[in-house]
């Protein structure tokens, strides 16, 4: 499609994102696998941008993964969400932002259902009162946390120490953006740019100096599939779908992948390792993989944060070739140290995918 056409579609799907005062809920997957990404998100919003974002220790999982595993009924899932809204109401906020894309999809679905079927909302209110003696207002605005960095992308860019540019050639890096399915495939109007041309990550990458790659399987699922990953017997499904994406993006020689969904990040990082171990195939240059990042990690890198404070040592695909390409300074010997330089053991080297 010609650029003008894309611009028109994107303009149809611009959502309103308030400037400040957010109630924040975390992601189960991101906390487990990329904890520093959430730490970085709050640090940038509070310390770099001076925004008010509030978290209560009383918030919990939204139950979304269990719901998509059919472990809990829809009514349970909606009542857990209602409890999160009650915590927001209690704290005096009306803008709600969540770190998880599965959660974002469920919040969108729940609010849509309540809008269409007020009797369902009434039933959930009754459930919440009966179980927790709590009441709630629905959020005035709902945003995924990537929406917030999209909104502030140019402010982050203005403070950036590094750009997503090859320091030797001056060329923009080639960036694959991967949007979690539940961000906009279910309710396109809830995501920046809709489902067809979501702009949330593309906007960030372009603002920070990169060029987006358009490749055939750009919108294909990473393959999480809930039970298709969480049951060991089914994991071929998950692996096969990531494989399909890597094969499709390979001819475009991407320098990096950026995701807004913590699950997608995990699978696209770890399945590259599995593919290499099983078939010796690698997708990056010189036997490395294509490094995969969350948007918080990329923002932190451009702002000049220490890559090991950003948690890039928890990635299986080595990030150093990309850091070198941009010219980001780092101390390789500190990669696997604990707090205060504490010596802890280092990971074993994989057989087939090169690591630093």
């Amino acid at each position: 499609m010609i650029k003008e056409g894309k611009v028109k579609i994107w303009s149809d799907y611009q959502k309103e994102i308030p400037d400040d005062h957010w109630f924040y809920v975390r992601s189960c997957i991101r906390q487990n696998f990329f904890p520093a990404a959430e730490v970085t998100f709050l640090k940038i919003l509070r310390e770099e941008l001076g925004k008010d974002i509030y978290e209560t220790p009383r918030h919990t999982t939204c139950g979304g993964i269990a719901y998509h595993l059919e472990c809990i009924p829809q009514e349970t899932q909606m009542t857990i969400i209602a409890r999160q809204f009650a915590l927001m109401t209690e704290a005096g906020y009306e803008n709600y932002t969540c770190s998880c894309v599965t959660s974002f999809g469920l919040y969108s679905e729940t609010l849509e259902t309540w809008h269409e079927m007020p009797e369902v909302e009434a039933k959930i209110r009754e459930n919440l009162w009966k179980s927790c003696r709590m009441e709630f207002k629905v959020p005035k605005y709902l945003a995924h946390t990537s929406d917030l960095f999209y909104k502030f992308r140019n402010d982050i860019s203005a403070k950036a120490k590094y750009r997503l540019v090859n320091k030797e050639t001056g060329e923009p890096l080639k960036v694959v953006e991967h949007i979690g399915c539940h961000y906009a495939k279910m309710f396109p109007s809830k995501g920046v740019g809709g489902a067809e041309y979501p702009y949330v990550l593309a906007g960030m990458a372009e603002s920070w100096g990169g060029n987006i790659i358009d490749y055939p399987e750009r919108r294909h699922c990473c393959g999480y599939g809930f039970r298709q990953y969480h049951v060991k017997a089914n994991r071929g499904y998950s692996l096969s779908n990531s494989y399909k994406k890597f094969e499709s993006m390979e001819p475009y020689h991407p320098d990096m992948i950026i995701t807004n969904c913590p699950g997608c990040h995990y699978f696209m990082d770890r399945w590259q390792y599995v593919i290499a171990e099983q078939t010796r195939k690698t997708y990056g240059q010189n036997g490395y993989g294509i490094p995969v990042f969350t948007y918080e990690e990329v923002a932190g890198l451009t702002l000049g944060y220490n890559p090991w404070d950003l948690g890039l040592q928890t990635h299986q695909v080595a990030v150093e070739p990309l850091l070198d390409k941009i010219g980001i300074e780092y101390n390789a010997s500190e990669k696997y140290l604990g707090t205060g330089g504490k010596l802890i053991c280092t990971p074993e080297f994989p057989m087939s995918i090169k690591c630093c």
């Binding site: 189960c28 009514e75 009542t79 539940h182 495939k185 279910m186 049951v231 404070d309 928890t314």
Partner: protein, 231 residues
């Protein structure tokens, strides 16, 4: 109109997301599951809209309804605003409610899933919790995954987590009052009852298969079975 169909149409997801399927097959073309498994979302929607209880019962007892990954790519594409993924969710719920899920290999995976994820929610307040995410069950997490697992406290401390700590932060200890709230929600909204149903039906099926419940769980979690995937 049969009784299974009558129960299905009471599900919100069917009310909202089943219109009239025109059999165009776009959902099949876009579906990651259809590419991997012997699976066709269009056929499933057709069976539901046939209103034929005999066919619906066979579907609820089959592996077919457990192949979907719930990515909801179909929901974006359907020209008639159907959502086969949502219809699948309603079918799975009914299969569990009727106790039919134990009749298929993929349906029997419900027990190990429930034991892990409901326990994670009720005991810790998270769907995924690092101390129950065993490397042995997740070798794909790689050499770095093993390193994190072997050095959990040190790695999380280095990265700024508040693992099992008081107050806010990454992987904080969820206060007991909040866990009590989750338990009360489970009791009031049917999750506790569903857990008991899955345990009881699985125990009965394990006995029928000549397996201990531990063997049944292990088989359901590890055994990929035969004939599910496209070659």
């Amino acid at each position: 109109m049969g009784k299974l169909y009558d129960r299905l149409v009471k599900d919100i997801r069917i009310k909202e997301w089943l219109k009239a399927c025109i059999n165009c097959g776009v959902c099949v073309a876009i579906c990651p599951a259809a590419e991997f498994y012997k699976y066709n979302p269009k056929t499933i929607v057709n069976i539901v809209q046939s209103h034929d209880d005999e066919q619906i019962e066979a579907l609820l007892k089959s592996d077919n309804i457990w192949y979907c990954g719930e990515c909801m790519s179909c929901m974006t594409r359907c020209p008639r605003k159907n959502a086969p993924g949502m219809i699948i969710m309603a079918l799975r719920s009914l299969s569990i409610d009727m106790g039919y899920f134990v009749e298929s290999e993929k349906g029997r995976q419900q027990l190990p899933l429930q034991r892990t994820f409901c326990s994670n929610i009720l005991d810790y307040g998270y769907c995924v919790y690092p101390r129950t995410f065993a490397y042995e069950d997740h070798p794909e997490s790689g050499t770095v995954g093993k390193w994190i697992s072997d050095n959990l406290e040190d790695v999380h401390k280095r990265l700024g987590s508040n693992l099992d700590g008081e107050g806010p932060g990454v992987l904080r200890k969820i206060p007991k009052e909040s866990l009590d709230d989750l338990k009360a929600i489970f009791d009031v909204t049917g999750a506790t009852a569903r857990m008991k149903l899955v345990e009881d039906a699985s125990a009965k099926k394990a006995q029928e298969m000549g397996l201990s419940i531990e063997e049944y769980v292990k088989k359901a979690f590890n055994d990929p079975g035969h004939g599910h995937t496209n070659e």
